[in-house]
């Protein structure tokens, strides 16, 4: 299969890549770029664990062809912080929103996308927005609390 030449900015680093047409974004991130923070749960775009941001928009990396994002800026969980946690990460860590952690990257990136659109979401908005991110551990109460806490943190939005 012929490779396709594309450009992606991944966590701020511009990359020229040659990808097979069927190359899935999650596999590229995990297998070629070592960004294993992007988790594959259901592999069918249902659970949200693989959520990354493409130009700020949440996408399910497990069901996204890489070529379709030619020119996009991708943010993964690894791109959020260096020595200091992003306020959304900090909020999740603080209020007990993390249990097994397999959904956490997707939850955090979805939350960042939410707060970019609505810096002060009400409860109904948070519940509706996170409906595409499954968590089997927490019962969600603490995740919603983390979103509320992050929304009160000025630099989070």
């Amino acid at each position: 299969m012929t490779g396709m030449a594309i450009t992606l900015s991944v966590n701020g680093l511009a990359r020229r890549l040659t990808v097979a047409p069927e190359r899935i974004l999650a596999d590229l991130l995990r297998q070629e770029l070592g960004l294993t923070g992007c988790k594959i749960g259901c592999d069918q775009g249902v659970c949200g664990a693989c959520t990354v941001l493409a130009d700020g928009v949440p996408v399910a990396a497990c069901t996204t062809f890489t070529f379709a994002l030619d020119g996009a800026a991708i943010t993964t969980i690894e791109g959020l912080s260096e020595d200091r946690l992003h306020p959304v990460q900090a909020a999740f860590a603080t209020v007990g929103a993390v249990q097994c952690g397999f959904c956490t990257a997707g939850m955090i990136l979805s939350t960042i996308a939410l707060l970019a659109r609505d810096p002060d979401p009400d409860e109904a908005t948070i519940r509706a927005w996170l409906g595409g991110n499954l968590c089997r551990c927490t019962g969600y109460a603490r995740i919603i609390e983390a979103v509320r806490l992050a929304a009160r943190t000025p630099e989070a939005v």
Partner: protein, 766 residues
Amino acid sequence: MDGMQIAPPPSQDAWEKVTGAAVYAFDIALPGMLHGKLLRSPHAHARIRGIDVSAALAMPGVACVVTGQDALALADPVYGVVLWDQPLLATDRVRYVGDSVAAVVAVDEATAFRACTAIRVDYEPLPALMGIEAALAPDAPLLFDEPAAGPGVRVGEGSRFVRDPAPNVLCEYGFAYGDAAAELDASAKVFSDSFAFSRLCHGHLEPHVNIARWQAGRVEIWSNNQDPFVLRGDVARVFGLPLQAVRFHTPLVGGGFGGKSYCKMEPLVALMARKARAPVRLALTFDESLLTTTKHGCVITLTSGVDAEGRLTARRAKILLDGGAYSDASAMVAVKTGFRIGGPYRWRAIDSLAQAVRTTTVPGGSFRGFGGTQASWASESQIDMIAHRIGADPIGFRKQNALRLHEPFAPGDSGMDSDLAAGLDEVSARIGWTAPRAAGHGLGIAIGLKDGGGTGNHAQAQVRLTHGGEATVSCAVVEIGQGVRTAICRLAAETLGIPEHRVRYAAIDTDHTPPDNGTHVSCGTTVTGLAVVEAAGRARGQLMAFAAGQLGCVPEDLVLDGWAVRLGNESHPLEPMIRRHFGGMGWEFIGGGAFKDPYIASAPLNAKNMFWIPCWSGAEVSVDRETGKVAVLKLIVGADAGRAVDSIACLGQIEGAAAQALSQALFEELRYAGEAPENATPLDYRVLQTPDLPAVFEGFVLEHALGPGPGQLKGIGEAGMLGIAAAIANAIEDAAGIRLTSLPFSPERVLAALDAQAPALAEVSG
């Protein structure tokens, strides 16, 4: 706003998980690693007449194909928990849709997947046994020609465990005390009711993953599991290897809930790697994990008596569990369901019989609180029904009959170590029990109960304390999301007298980690916690003895203060003192610890229960009489942590378990249509999502300080699941006058119950 300060610093666990640095088995890749895929049975029950793998083998990139015949050459190629009947791959027969038939190893997953489709299996379909009734029918074919191997379950006084008591019955457990027949005869009223419990999938987001590599006759396996030492034993037995020839690495686990308890495909992956002569990774898909094990569906019939004063007298229970195609943990689930069926009440007699029935469905296995959830659902539904029938207040009736503090659960067993009435008061206050009901709303409460900590359980631990005052804890409790790394580090820090952030939890590696029995039964902080505290105490003891020797005093004269010891008014920094003696490289004070809960034959389970796990649950619901939809408006759930080492983590455990039970109550179940599951895909297998949450969802943690763990703590990981379904069923009756005895409370079931109620109402009004 002045900006929310985020403090204190997150734990090691939380930091790794919010930054994406956390490593799961799913993330591990070895050089030269090949990939496996499994071919699964499309038949519920069929004889395998032949398997033709030639087309698959001829495909470029395919390294090998493993079939049941390869496994038959192994030393002991079956597995299970205490009864072993599951082959690594099907040999002569397949026994459920999804049964593993062949394994392909190839250069990548896509190639392995394509090669699986090229394997030709010649099946001769056999009659399927799609449920308990079909399996127990007189003319039902036998699912196994021979009884299961394995040690079975050793029980104590008042209990009996029998293998193969009847055709297609894997085992049965009987538990009795008192004279149930006489007590029921003498009762003022006797009620008999049946309850059905639905089959659930674990739905952990990280599917099962194993990577195996052979080197110099040893096999090394990276695996997401809950019990690395159990698996080490299983792989050694299957391959006829000494324990030292098997090494398990267990990194962080992306959700367990029992789904990753006990042996699954670990021996198979070792076999695939041996045949391929290369490291092999087998990562199931989410769909495949749904077909691996489930929570046991069951039917429970309870016959319970009450005397004229409203006291419970005796209970007879008949429990039929759908064990599925292979034993997995069915024997233990049968034992625990049968044992727990009385719930948190005082009975003069119990006569309980639980059978695990073999069917051609996904094997039933461990699932958060197994047996306790099934028993609590049936028991707490019936207790409410009895209260209504005799005109008693459901809370008053429970209080009247609840075990008092220290009152034994059963003859020979341990006493109740939670204040059940206090928990009832808490849940009834939070749910607003005494306030007038809003129109169309109903309230329900329940107390789930299970035993916790394990039966005769044990753990060992090691704590290493460096010259600089850092510590590493080694023990085998697996972090599956319950927060045990943080809790264990906190217990060690308390004992060592050093800050928590100076304590790290070591990676689990059976070559180095002290063993335990597995991360089950909410035992981690109690059983392993006791071993860790002992190990930490010994490491600290060595340090203080060393410092006393250097200072010419006895350890009792010294106070550890920061990373220095005080003798009188003088402070002596420890690090230079240690380096002066041991040299510049420094030193580690290494303490070992152990805990073993003794076997006691006079206890029903052959060991006294370590602690009791009550779950106080309350629900407020409304029922839409047009659509049959049940809306849970408020859900309250609480448990007793004895002492909460990490209150937020305790709440998270209680709420998370309650959410799983809420999901089961409202809609979640694995359904069969004919011989195949009809919703075993992530799209169709519906689990709770944020929009499903009740408007009010509150957990609470009580600290009754009577647990056997460090500082009187006890485990609560399974608690939140126990009482929820019954509380919701009880609330539905309160709201709509209908009693649902099967899960989930789907609109169809609600409408059917409302329809059944309608003629009676019409009669009354007419």
